[in-house]
Symmetry: C2
């Protein structure tokens, strides 16, 4: 921890746009670095080492808290995102945030387990389906989930981004294996414009959303899966820092 953690951006108050705490006011702390290179990654500035290593500020937990407190007054929830924050040792940060009276939710693809994740208030597992180009194997997700919930109850919803039918088949298999037992399953239509110019139109986003609601019903393990759009993209397009 001598160097601290590589912080790419800290912003808020805004809302969490996805998954189990969608709509909940939060500050975001985004760390650089990722073990994956998803084709449709929407945070490549925190993933591509040529980019994030140039822009990140290495910060200690107390410096991160000072930076949050310098933002407009707001909620008690901190969303720790990336990249994949699980490539780093975040125990001191999570503990410092808790001492400062914040709750912490983390998003990770479930590829790497770290004991500090058990200290978080909520961990969203966001395993990557076939369309991402690098799949998070279902037995890896299962093992991660067992390690995470081993010592006590941690809220551990699973969120899968869906581009096509192979992704739905992946999510269905995953839900059959782990979803109904230990976790809630969320499906999210893929952001089609992530690597394109401009923002998706409302019509495109809501049409993909509507389509996913219908198609999920064809998969036996997804009939109870929660289907949510990316609220922040509906609100602000692909703009950063909101």
């Amino acid at each position: 921890m001598a160097k601290g953690l590589p912080v790419v951006e800290i912003f808020g108050p805004t809302i969490q746009g996805e998954g189990a705490v969608a709509g909940m006011p939060t500050y975001f702390v985004r760390l650089g670095g990722c073990d994956y290179r998803c084709i449709w990654c929407d945070s490549m500035h925190a993933v591509d080492p040529y980019e994030w290593t140039k822009t990140a500020t290495w910060m200690q937990p107390d410096e991160i808290i000072t930076a949050i407190k310098a933002l407009p007054e707001g909620p008690q929830l901190i969303s720790l995102s990336g990249g994949n924050p699980a490539i780093w040792e975040c125990m001191p940060l999570v503990q410092a945030l808790h001492m400062a009276n914040y709750k912490v939710c983390v998003e990770t693809q479930a590829s790497i387990f770290r004991p500090w994740l058990r200290e978080a208030d909520l961990v969203t597992l966001s395993p990557k389906p076939p369309s991402a180009g690098n799949v998070t194997k279902i037995d890896i997700v299962k093992k991660f989930l067992l390690q995470l919930t081993d010592l006590g109850p941690v809220a551990a919803p699973i969120k899968v981004v869906i581009k096509d039918n192979w992704d739905l088949e992946y999510a269905n298999e995953l839900a059959g294996e782990v979803g109904t037992v230990t976790s809630t399953m969320y499906l999210q239509p893929m952001n089609q414009h992530v690597n394109a110019e401009g923002d998706p139109s409302y019509e495109e986003m809501l049409s993909a959303y509507k389509d996913l609601i219908t198609r999920a019903q064809d998969f036996p393990h997804l009939q109870n899966a929660i289907v949510l759009p990316q609220l922040h993209v509906l609100l602000w397009g692909n703009q950063r820092g909101v």
Copy 2:
């Protein structure tokens, strides 16, 4: 129960568009009758007695379940709505739904408590703020919540529709009184087109949503309140039966 319950509509599978289970696939069972006459009611066909008493079918629990099973195969969640379903004795229906392996979530303004509500899996309290024309007094909501959670844990989120600053002040006072202790608070921008011709535009809906996210941060007890749009209105406008 000789007459059964006055069912105005049964439809699905669709998603729950609001509040704590937003995005969750569900069937809807809408009962006629309400003790309120909210100015911006979006289900007046189930509230106005001249209308619902003509269109409702009085059904026994087993008939309601048969009607659900006649719809396309889908989720295990039944949303029991109205009007205000709490004006009726729904214990036999909730028990029959549970026997048939469904989960039940109920929406009510918290004006009338009934013991059968304790049997539901989730009760969304949707007390009415000043802009509705009939306010649900805060001490009534508090009493309802205490009665509801008296014998055990029932998930009991509170959802307040927000039109203006008075509504935010109401929600803030409510959150200060009950929200942080026993329940999660949801804020929802008012559907501006409920009594108007046509559907609201995406721009209008998302601009009201964005505005509410920002304004809620000015109220000390609402800084952690979850702000969600009406997903079903984004998807389908004010169309019925979806």
